[in-house]
């Protein structure tokens, strides 16, 4: 009885993975490899032929001040959004979970930006932050404080985009932390209290924070990768401006590839982006292997 079923099983298994394997090959693997190859060429869309230029694109990147600005802006954006949205998300998760009253309501409120159309909400932010008719500056005027130009000044544009980024992702992080919090056994808090951890802060320090270690590391990686991908708000609100002050990695990649049709150079930028994402994931698994085990 057994051998025929095994053969049948092998055939069924291969047939069931075949459609996915073909789609994977055509839509993911080959295009990704093609991007990697394009990065070493001077291919431009519509050009009759392409030439192998080795590391030429990467050398151009190093020499290009615009690209340097783009990398710096991306790092500043990630550096602003990640810590604020993680600490904020953790704070909100603790606060919402601390009582039963209003829990579902506030969870929904803070999560709302995650499911809202980013492009549309960016337009709402544009109105909110409008230098003259925006409610934010109207409130500042009423208080007699200075009124910044937010999205149209190179001093404040990254800060404004980062604030929108935090608003967008804080509820997402909160939900991930909530899942981590519910996994902590209640008895541990009782045990800590018996052992003298009287204040809420002591219980957080001794139980919650160490046990949330893996969750926090996970949220950290996700947050960094998500904010590294910032594109929508830039495309809708600033187009990289004013004067390249909000030029970020994916927007530069988009402009080089799809506005200037310099596909080779754009592919090289894509590879840099991929390398950073992979490095973050690698770092996460390394740290996870070593440190975040409950001590």
């Amino acid at each position: 009885m057994r051998p025929p079923r095994l053969a049948g099983e092998a055939v069924a298994g291969a047939l069931m993975t075949l459609p996915a394997a073909i789609a994977y090959l055509l839509l993911l693997l080959l295009p990704t490899l093609a991007t990697a190859l394009l990065a070493f060429t001077d291919y431009e869309l519509g050009a009759p032929d392409l030439g192998w230029i080795g590391l030429g694109n990467f050398q151009e990147m190093l020499a290009d001040r615009g690209f340097g600005v783009s990398v710096r802006n991306t790092l500043v954006y990630v550096g602003l959004v990640t810590p604020v949205s993680i600490l904020g998300g953790l704070g909100l998760a603790l606060l919402v979970e601390a009582g039963a009253k209003g829990r579902a309501f506030f969870r929904a409120v803070f999560f709302l930006p995650v499911v809202s159309l980013t492009a549309a909400m960016a337009a709402a932010w544009q109105y909110l932050l409008h230098p003259t008719i925006g409610p934010v500056n109207a409130a500042l005027r009423a208080m007699g404080v200075g009124t910044p130009f937010w999205l149209s000044s190179s001093d404040t544009v990254l800060l404004s985009l980062a604030a929108i980024g935090v608003w967008e992702s804080i509820g997402f992080n909160m939900v991930l932390f909530m899942a981590g919090l519910t996994a902590i056994p209640r008895e541990l808090y009782a045990a800590a209290e018996v052992d003298g951890a009287r204040s809420g802060f002591d219980r957080f320090r001794l139980v919650t924070w160490p046990l949330l270690g893996p969750t926090t590391l996970f949220v950290l990686t996700i947050s960094m990768i998500r904010s590294l991908r910032v594109f929508d708000t830039v495309a809708v609100l600033t187009q990289g401006g004013p004067n390249k002050a909000s030029e970020v990695l994916l927007f530069t990649m988009y402009q080089q590839g799809f506005t200037y049709l310099r596909l080779g150079y754009s592919a090289a930028i894509t590879l840099v982006f991929l390398a950073v994402v992979l490095a973050l994931m690698w770092l996460q698994t390394r740290v996870l292997d070593r440190r975040v085990h409950y001590s």
Binding site: T17, F111, M178
Partner: protein, 269 residues
């Protein structure tokens, strides 16, 4: 924590601020918006004017319909590819299984922006730009879906499958009639994740779509802003409200599922 509710209320109001002002501005006449008063409630309602201008100038319903077609199409193909593959990887022994699983794990590392350039060249070469095919095809395969279903199906009891086989069911019948009905929790979680991310996606539609005919809601907002609105914030906010509403309503109706869906699939970022 007696201060819990007041603090939450304050922070909640802060998070809701953009929504409140967006809706308020969509109800106000231009003169009131330009006065920049701090009152949310309009003195004169201009609902008909603002929403009327949006509906008459851009095909809002078409944008929404495009969003539904694209998200529905993507989800359908993702499930068609991923459910059988996930089942085979979880429960069947066949040559190349570990290779296939390795390929899935590798695919999880690649953000969707990476294959975009060659896919654009291919779509352009095949004359597929500005079509539903160009919007749907690149996302038809989701390694994340395969991974998720594989994990979920691994936990299904083998006895269930043995019983079905003893009843004379083939493996394909088992997938659609035994495994899939048991996969609803994973399938809804993935469906929510997939629809939310593709409804909101601007990057790919911006690349492959020109004009209104195949524009998704995200692209529609952008087009309306650059072509029509200018300083017409009332109409702009009305457009933003109309495009944001469908998914927000779905979320409010099934918020527990949404939160769980995003939390369990959160690892994809």
């Amino acid at each position: 924590m007696r201060a819990r509710l007041p603090i939450l209320g304050l922070l909640g109001a802060l998070v809701l601020m953009p929504y409140l002002w967006m809706v308020a501005a969509s109800l106000k006449p231009a003169s009131e918006i330009f006065r920049a008063s701090l009152s949310l409630w309009p003195e004169h309602l201009a609902i008909a004017e603002n929403y009327g201008r949006v509906l008459s100038r851009v095909p809002v319903l078409l944008y929404l319909w495009n969003g539904i077609v694209v998200c529905g199409g993507i989800l359908l193909f993702q499930l068609l590819f991923a459910v059988p593959a996930g089942y085979a990887l979880a429960k069947l022994r066949f040559p190349g299984r570990s290779l296939a699983f390795g390929a899935v794990m590798l695919g999880l590392l690649v953000p969707p922006h990476v294959p975009a350039l060659p896919l654009y060249v291919a779509a352009s070469g095949l004359g597929l730009l500005d079509s539903y095919t160009a919007l749907i095809a690149p996302f038809a395969i989701s390694v994340f879906a395969i991974f998720l279903f594989r994990q979920f199906f691994s936990a299904l009891p083998d006895d269930l499958l043995h019983a079905a086989r003893l009843d004379g069911m083939g493996e394909w019948a088992i997938v659609w009639r035994v495994v899939l009905p048991n996969a609803w929790p994973a399938a809804t979680a993935f469906a929510i994740f997939s629809v939310v991310s593709h409804w909101n996606d601007l990057f790919w539609p911006l690349i492959v779509v020109q004009g209104h005919a195949h524009a998704t809601p995200a692209l529609g907002v952008l087009q309306f802003r650059s072509e029509e609105a200018g300083d017409d914030f009332g109409a702009m906010m009305a457009a933003a409200v109309l495009m944001t509403l469908p998914l927000v309503l779905a979320f409010l109706l099934a918020q527990r599922r949404f939160v769980e869906g995003i939390a369990t699939t959160g690892l994809k970022g």
